[in-house]
């Protein structure tokens, strides 16, 4: 698509010079982006990468002349196609947004208006900006839906957002961003909330469409492997500063800064598999468990074992029944059929019927440390409570134990013991959750996606900490995760679940060596690799397989 007003490929489209952004905290403005330069040419894709708090999204939004509530652009210049956006009028900015610069948000499920049909939301920009008539916009939408490989492109627009799956919504949002054929699209972590299997489809769709229309894009993510597939150049950010910027291939091959190489090295941590202990029965056995929410069945005949001092990883996409299995084991959801055996004895199905000792031996660590900790509690009480409840520790002994646990999770007791749980970072909160689980002196800990809300470098620290705790206290872990890098890092055995069933299980090395069950294969092959050609290769392989009649399908599509 060539359009005269769009200028030539290679012209500078967006240039931000010395961009400074301030955020409001406790009644005063604090600088969170400290003078960042961004240059983007037409048809080019720039990857912005960094951990949370690096300022990626804030910078991405600034490219639209937009600052979220509680933020303000405090310095620098933002030139978009000959206009300086900081000094442009609100009306001028409004006319640019959606029309010439579009935005794709992280969570399409939250960013589509629940009250309107997809087609109405799609047509809003082109009609309101006077780009095309409603009829033409609808036709155009169907065409884009088809190009983005959405199922039923003719009718999917008639649906409401809640009637469409996450991966499809994310593609519909990409279509919506394309609706006015903008010069620039900001993709703000568009695949972070998706399963790996779904992510592939969305990545491929985004890349195709950006190529076809020669649209420039800023692709924001915390995942270097993802951005490697998408971007021509990558800019690494940390604490609101540029760490390094350069051509994608060059940066992956030869990072100049240590921080970049740390990001690249992430997901390489791996522990060797340990075999099942000999002459010893399993610590916990799950046998033939069926469970349902109300009348909706969610688990079918789930069986697996957990051995002492071993880690079983339970993997699968969202909705595969991983967390439900944990709810059955902990007695929160009594199963319809089947039993959970602990040291050879049947555990009562309902946690209310379990005795204190049975409860103590099984502890949980949750995905969201923010919501798993009472914001009004002090750390002393959070950790002290199970030590008092299960072990009856009081006074000086309790205090000593809490301090010991804090030292174990590498937090200085004097500094942290009296803090509120809200006065911690995400990684520190998860450490507190680990200390709380350890305080009960458990034998088995169920870790439910404990690292998926954390930045990758922090996540790796947590995995290493969990590993040390296992070695020190002979713990067994049941590790629920959708992230195969985590599985590779710490598990001994792997259980793969799909649609409430166990589709494959076995020792880790076996699971990671072909041949696999089709679904395991799909999961494994969908994990992005730090190789800019990975996505092309994978898509080619899958196309080849499709020609041979083998089709791998994620639940979402």
């Amino acid at each position: 698509m060539s359009d005269t007003k769009r200028g030539q490929k290679g012209d500078i489209l967006l240039e931000m010079k010395g961009l400074k952004i301030e955020g409001r905290a406790d009644e005063q403005w604090i600088e969170i982006v400290h003078g960042v330069d961004v240059t983007l040419r037409r048809g080019e894709v720039l990857g912005l990468i960094g951990e949370s708090g690096a300022g990626k999204s804030t910078i991405g939004l600034a490219a639209m002349g937009y600052a979220r509530d509680g933020c303000r652009i405090s310095g620098g210049e933002i030139w978009f196609d000959g206009t300086e956006l900081r000094s442009a009028s609100d009306e001028h900015l409004r006319k640019l947004r959606g029309h010439r610069i579009a935005y794709v948000a992280q969570s399409a499920a939250a960013s589509f208006n629940p009250a309107h049909r997809l087609i109405d939301q799609y047509c809003e920009s082109p009609v309101q900006h006077g780009v095309m008539s409603r009829d033409k916009a609808e036709k155009d939408a169907k065409d884009l839906f088809r190009r983005l490989r959405l199922p039923n492109p003719e009718t999917i627009g008639e649906r409401y957002p809640h009637q469409v799956s996450g991966g499809q919504l994310q593609r519909a949002m990409t279509a919506m961003a394309m609706s006015c054929r903008p010069d620039l699209i900001i993709f703000d972590e568009p695949t972070t909330a998706l399963d790996v299997t779904t992510q592939i489809e969305v990545l491929a769709a985004i890349r195709d469409i950006v190529d076809q229309f020669n649209t420039a894009a800023i692709y924001i993510t915390h995942d270097l492997a993802v951005v490697a597939q998408m971007a021509d150049t990558i800019k690494v950010l940390r604490y609101g500063n540029t760490v390094e910027e350069g051509d994608t291939r060059r940066m992956l091959a030869k990072p100049e800064e240590k921080y970049t190489s740390d990001l690249l090295a992430v997901r390489t941590y791996k522990r060797d598999q340990r075999d099942r202990p000999e002459n010893e029965g399993p610590l916990m056995q799950i046998r033939g468990v069926d469970a349902s929410y109300g009348t909706v069945p969610v688990l079918y005949d789930v069986s697996f074992d957990v051995y002492k001092k071993r880690t079983v990883a339970v993997v699968g996409e969202s909705g595969s029944g991983k967390s439900t299995t944990a709810r059955v084991i902990t007695g929160l959801l009594p199963p319809k059929a089947g039993e959970v055996y602990y040291r050879g004895e049947v555990l009562p199905a309902d946690y209310r019927q379990r005795n204190k000792d049975q409860l103590r031996r099984l502890q949980m660590i949750y995905q969201m440390p923010d919501t798993a900790l009472n914001p009004k509690s002090r750390i002393r009480d959070v950790i002290g409570r199970p030590a008092y409840f299960y072990l009856g520790l009081t006074g000086r002994k309790l205090e000593e134990r809490v301090r010991e646990l804090l030292r174990l999770v590498e937090l200085e007791p004097d500094q942290y013991i009296n803090r509120l749980t809200t006065e911690l970072s995400g990684g520190q909160k998860q450490r507190i959750c680990i200390a709380r689980a350890l305080a009960a002196e458990p034998e088995l800990i169920i870790c439910d996606e404990v690292t998926s809300a954390l930045d990758q470098l922090v996540a790796e620290e947590i995995l290493k900490l969990l590993q040390r705790m296992q070695d020190e206290f002979d713990l067994s872990y049941m590790f629920i995760t959708h992230d195969l890098a985590t599985v590779r890092a710490i598990s001994d055995e792997v259980v793969v679940m799909q649609n409430g069933r166990v589709v494959e299980q076995g020792p880790k090395e076996e699971m990671f060596t072909p041949p696999h069950h089709d679904y395991t294969d799909l999961l494994l092959s969908s994990v992005p690799e730090m190789d800019p050609d990975w996505l092309d290769r994978l898509l080619a392989e899958r196309a080849e397989m499709a020609r041979q009649g083998r089709v791998l399908k994620a639940a979402d599509n």
């Binding site: 937009y66 959606g98 948000a105 960013s111 629940p114 009250a115 809003e124």
Partner: protein
């Protein structure tokens, strides 16, 4: 659709149960009041014999359970009985008053609801502006005064002080201070006569609805889909009306329902001020006489009003929510 019908059926069933409980509570409370109809109506000079004869005549010598069962069996067959005070048929007595009450409530709602929505949307659009502050102060002031005070102020300003300036009739005020309607008052004249009470009630109910509209919309302005709309370059007014308002409807509808119920059951003070023959007045008058059947019948209407309006609000909340109307 079947889900909605099921909801309606279930809620109507529960509504009947609620009516039963309310009738029992009302009858019990009237029983507990000192004195009865005969003592009240015959006055202090009545002899014991006449009072007893009166009681016998009206069946007050029967135990409470019998009298209640008698009333209930009548009510179940839609026979509300006769007033003790004037021996008139209650259905007839009340239906005129009820239609007057509904007329005033309807007239007020027709002014107040659109006005409140309009002011609320504008306040959300121009939040923290001078307009926003003014509307908030004005509406809050008007509900902070007692209703009768607002009513008398309006009478003073629009009736008493305007005597002789009536543009329609000769030498009258702009609006009459007495809303004395009768059965053969024409519709147009009725609107004119009840304008002051309707205006009073509007001032009383607008603040609540308008503030809820404003709050419900502002509450949504931080949602990701509103940010998305901004980043799509949608005009601010369109964001409020098309993107925020449809999602804010449920709480707004509920507040409107509560205020409509108030307009029907809670306006006795305003009726008294304007001498308007509505249901509230008849209710209070007959409580004075311990005229149990009339009080019971009015209470049933009040309770049914709350039940039906709440049901309507819930149904509308379902109908306006696509997640409930169009399940996956």
């Amino acid at each position: 659709m079947s889900k909605i019908l099921a909801t309606i059926a279930q809620r109507l069933g529960l509504g009947v149960l609620t009516l039963f409980v309310v009738s029992l509570v009302i009858a019990g409370m009237l029983e507990l009041l000192p004195g009865d109809f005969c003592e009240t109506i015959l006055g202090q000079s009545a002899t014991v014999e006449t009072v007893n004869a009166c009681r016998k005549e009206n069946g007050f010598d029967q135990p409470f359970v019998f009298r209640y069962a008698d009333w209930l069996s009548g009510f179940a067959t839609l026979d509300m009985g006769k007033s003790l005070a004037n021996k008139r048929d209650i259905a007839e007595l009340i239906s005129v008053r009820l239609s007057n009450t509904l007329f005033l409530a309807g007239f007020t709602a027709a002014i107040a609801v659109p006005l409140a929505l309009f002011l609320g949307v504008l306040a959300a659009l121009y939040r923290y502006s001078l307009y926003d502050r003014f509307v908030n102060v004005f509406t809050l002031t008007s509900i902070s005064f007692p209703e009768f005070f607002v009513a008398y102020i309006l009478v003073l300003l629009l009736s008493v002080m305007t005597v002789g300036e009536n543009p329609i009739g000769p030498n009258g005020p702009w609006f009459p201070a007495m809303a004395s309607v009768s059965e053969d008052t024409s519709f147009g004249e009725r609107l004119y006569l009840v304008f002051l009470p309707a205006l009073t009630l509007t001032l009383v109910v607008v603040a609540h609805m308008m503030r809820m509209t404003r709050a419900a919309i502002i509450n949504l302005l931080a949602s990701p889909y509103i940010e998305m709309a901004r980043l799509k370059g949608i005009k601010n007014s369109r964001i409020i009306v098309k993107h925020a308002l449809p999602n804010a409807l449920a709480p707004i509808i509920n507040v409107i329902a509560i205020n409509l119920a108030y307009l029907i059951v809670g306006v006795v003070v305003v009726e008294v001020v304007f001498n308007y023959p509505g249901l509230g007045k008849i209710f209070v008058d007959h409580v004075k006489f311990r005229d149990v059947p009339v009080v019971q019948a009015s209470a049933m209407i009040f309770a049914a009003t709350y039940i039906l309006l709440n049901l309507t609000a819930d149904i509308l909340s379902i109908v306006t929510n696509p997640r409930l109307m169009h399940p996956r």
